[in-house]
């Protein structure tokens, strides 16, 4: 059906077609589409300058009809042989490209939508209270993060310094974080902006959201636990957030849509998706530490869907901009090997993991590399890949 010679089991088949920004030696960053082991140079193949800007933003801003049109054109180009001679010259081996931050991030919001993660953190951070705060099942809790430190996969993770204070210390000290952690998350990228004062209802989710990436929201737990009361996380998170270079179009995830878990309390109308086609997503994440699989967080168990997150984020009239990124919050399932952070995997550092090389870990050690990958059901019956987001920990300067 396609003239492309796709590797068996590739997650980058015709049912995926994710967008990214790439360059080759001596050329400027431009938009590409991953297909098999290649990248299609969209700037060259389409002749459209929107793909030569060095970020996806200008194309994303064109809106859902333009997204659908280009996806249809790509499918046509790669199917049958009619376009092979014009398209094939614009394929570049993925092994030869450098991948860049795909999106110029406008605002970055991080949610907290895994019930298992929130319960685990609640038990550790607030042992004397109920694990879930009273509001948790009524609204998707979220907060703004630092957009300027969202970087592409591969960016070194320099161990941050900051104030730490153990409960037994009299006063805080300043120094390198001793509890450097990950948060395995899924991120959603806004294409179509919205007007100030106009909430985006659940049903308009796919008119505004362009696509999906993987997010590692690196976290310094010692900085975070000292600073976060009463206004939330700040320096414990703002040193780096890494995202995968390939943004998978929402259209590629139609086969991954599932119902979210049953809700325990009635939802207010603007969040009630019980009569709608739900936006739970069957995305299977894998977390590897130095190549070893340590966790398999299941995104389909997330209590709040991205459509509910978007509806909530705009319920007060807050506007969206092209390039807004909102992430799910750490994805954790009920099982120990489904936890999306090391603070959960090691239960606050009290239960170290033993790795295959015999070493143990609670939090991250200098030199550690963490890689997140994920797959989801594709339209053709196989699984599509969300790419990967990776980072290696470097010592504090």
């Amino acid at each position: 059906m396609t003239w492309l010679d796709l590797p068996a089991g590739t997650g980058f088949g015709l049912d995926n077609l994710p967008y990214g920004v790439f360059s080759t030696t001596g050329t400027a960053p431009r938009t590409g589409v991953a297909i098999g082991d290649s990248v299609l140079d969209l700037a060259a193949a389409t002749g459209d300058d929107v793909h030569a800007t060095g970020s996806l933003n200008a194309f994303m801003a064109r809106g859902p009809q333009a997204w659908a049109d280009l996806r249809a054109q790509l499918t046509e180009w790669f199917t049958g042989g009619a376009h092979r001679s014009t398209v094939e010259p614009h394929l570049v081996p993925r092994s030869e490209v450098t991948l860049h931050l795909p999106v110029e991030v406008a605002d970055y919001v991080d949610f907290y939508s895994s019930r298992h993660h929130a319960e685990n953190l609640g038990r550790m951070f607030r042992p004397d209270s109920a694990p879930l705060t009273q509001n948790w099942k009524h609204l998707p809790i979220g907060y703004h993060g630092r957009a300027g430190t969202v970087q592409v996969s591969g960016t070194p993770v320099v161990r941050p310094s900051g104030q730490r204070k153990a409960p037994t210390d009299d006063a805080p000290t300043f120094g390198p974080s001793q509890r450097l952690d990950i948060e395995a998350e899924v991120g959603f990228v806004v294409g179509t902006p919205s007007e100030l004062g106009r909430p985006v209802p659940l049903a308009a989710f796919d008119e505004h959201v362009f696509g999906v990436c993987l997010v590692n929201d690196w976290s310094a737990r010692d900085l975070q636990s000292w600073e976060y009361v009463p206004l939330g996380p700040f320096l414990g998170k703002s040193f780096l957030t890494s995202i995968s270079p390939w943004v998978v179009p929402l259209a590629a995830l139609q086969a991954a849509r599932v119902a979210p878990p049953a809700r325990d309390v009635p939802l207010l109308p603007y969040l009630d998706d019980s009569d709608a086609e739900p936006w739970g997503l069957d995305i299977a994440i894998e977390v590897r530490l130095n190549g070893q699989l340590v966790s398999c967080p299941p995104f389909d168990l997330m209590y709040w869907t991205p459509a509910q997150q978007l509806a909530h984020m705009t319920a007060n009239g807050a506007s969206l901009r092209t390039g807004d990124l909102f992430a799910s919050g750490t994805v954790s399932g009920p099982a120990e090997d489904q936890r999306g952070s090391f603070i959960e995997l090691s239960w606050g550092g009290t239960e170290p993991l033993t790795l295959a090389d015999g070493s143990t870990r609670t939090f991250l050690t200098d030199g550690d590399t963490v890689t997140l990958t994920a797959t989801a059901p594709g339209a053709s019956g196989g699984r599509i890949a969300l790419g990967e987001v990776t980072g290696r920990v470097e010592p504090a300067p």
Copy 2:
């Protein structure tokens, strides 16, 4: 000394020279400098395209030498008569201009640096705990806000809707905020970016910060109190943040520098400004409701200075971008008429204010207009103006 016919007591004399973005009917937004009752069209007067971009960002990115050079040139132009014939044609009456958002805001951070405000809020939000959290005197608490909803003075304040839940309610309800409030703050605009992984020390504050504006961080207290545990304020703040249109260069505030209040606990070295020229600032703010003066918050009593805020914000290696905006947090003094928010002025709604027209207020009513203005000592012995930030409350749609 100057050929300009400046109004007596103008806050926009030669010792101020704030930058903004303006347009006149049928012309594109461009950079201007406020002088007396006029605006100097910088794009036309300098012929430099950096001033024709519609925001200050490109000029701010040039760095402190360029800022100093232009300020010196402006002073020369307005002093003596040599340049009058070339400069005067580019003066536009301020009454004829429309002012725009001066800065394309990159990241927006809001601090919480008034001890009196933090104590007041602590007493109201957490009556069973000490008013200041344990960390408050060790670090300037802050959090990220929504950059995309920072708007210029005059933008209508549409009453936001959201989830509210009184302690006596069984479940939250959704509807227009019943506790719409202001926060009178001072904002600092970053010009020079910094590298990821490189903290900005106290002494480098004025190499990175371009100037100062007034900020009204509109707040829906009922939304905020229900949502903010454990990750901080979100929708209670993200519907709108208004800033004054004129950005006063840091150079104009040298005469306003004062020592901050004595600190109660020793500070870690990266925050310790006891041996440095301090960056406390004697800025006197006035809050007017429908024209009536209701509060005079004193910025010189802020516990944490903007230099400490910047050093803290980057201590973990977080980078700065041109256009980053960080605000002080609500400015409140110890006296009742020095409180920078209505939740403080009305003590959580329990002690209504009586206005000159005989009406009372706890929180804001539809149709109310709130205006913040401020002045500071200028180099020539008078006071310079920080302009104003105003907004009128419109009913929920």
